[in-house]
Subunit: 256 residues, 2 copies
Amino acid sequence: MTNKKPLILITNDDGYQAKGIAELINAMKGLGEIVVFAPDTHRSGMSSAITTTHPLRARIYHKEENLTAYMCNGTPVDCVKLALNEFVERKPDLLVSGINHGSNAGISVLYSGTVAAALEGCVFDVPSIAMSLCDFTPDADFTATAKVARKLAEKVLKDSLPKGICLNVNVPAGEVKGVKMTTQTQGKWVNEYQRSKDGGDREVFWMTGNFENWDANNENNDEWALANGYAAVVPVKIDMTAYDLIPEMKEWEIQC
Amino acid sequence: MTNKKPLILITNDDGYQAKGIAELINAMKGLGEIVVFAPDTHRSGMSSAITTTHPLRARIYHKEENLTAYMCNGTPVDCVKLALNEFVERKPDLLVSGINHGSNAGISVLYSGTVAAALEGCVFDVPSIAMSLCDFTPDADFTATAKVARKLAEKVLKDSLPKGICLNVNVPAGEVKGVKMTTQTQGKWVNEYQRSKDGGDREVFWMTGNFENWDANNENNDEWALANGYAAVVPVKIDMTAYDLIPEMKEWEIQC
């Protein structure tokens, strides 16, 4: 018997208990058969980290018609890899990651586990979308973000995405005026550590920081869209080659 | 007093005790003042993961003229961030990461802590190079790789690199015929898990796998260069935007 329903793989980096993933599952209901494969705990900032030093485990924590949900002790990318290698019986038609509690715009694309999960879907040639809401609070209002996720999922299920490209979607808190197709904002995090002392009076450093926008007046980038009330969609490539530089590099004289 | 010597930051993902980083430090000696800031243990496959759930610590483990070496309990990217935010007094002229024990060619650019450290240097606008030797053995012969690292370091110290681009360099084991400027090979890891049982007879999954090359006949990519005895240099961008797709995406009808 062939199941003709689209297969949708859902994961995140805030863990299976986060409100964001529950909202994403609800947003995807009715679009197909859903498999959730999510970290068993908070795994933010994990980027594309993979687990090699200990084994992975996975178990079902919820099952209903058209929905099977697993939790796994790995990173977001471990979850995608393990699900696609060992747990799903056919290639998904769509992967959606999130909804992340907090922005993954700009340079955060490098550090985000939510985006990394979508990049990993892309490695497997599964059309993939990372969804984030620019609100860190655990009880954030995901209504508008869920609607954007649903619309984009319908679009991607219908027309797919080019090989090697996934979508990094950030949605502002509050009212959403519309959706903008944007570039990754140039900038970086600054003042990244707070010095503190441990119980033995030894110096320790806690990660903190502020995003410094180097391109604040560019109306084509994701930070501009978010600051102006729009959801920002950045197409992200897994091929990181800077092709433009290669001809010049071929002129370098590197003897060895 | 102004120190006119170039400042070189060195890190890796195999940890401060790896042979690869010792060989890299030796290869950089004489080019400037060296600061090593390396993980205190093996941190392979960490990608651009950052540590937010516990604090970082760092301490000096070695000091000699023109060389100060710290170990840190963070990931490779934590090491770069902490060094540049809190430990070095001026912006380095060069960051070199490695020498990794094992290839970081092709899609491994996404998962590699060695490459992530160079990407992070790039975020800080420090000209950055990731060095890997395609030999996983702890006592691998790094002679040729160290020579390539030295030549590239001299080139980059002299002429810098364009903003937002770092170099991912892989060197084959054995004799090296020369250096090729290449693209990231298209392909992915397959058969990524080995099923096993824990002591309680519960199923666990260990990461393993083989690289499947989708572009084996392309003489411009890094896997081709390595298979043919050349060191492969890929220029890697921190801006992952797929610019080409944006005009088409602007035609999408996404109402919300």
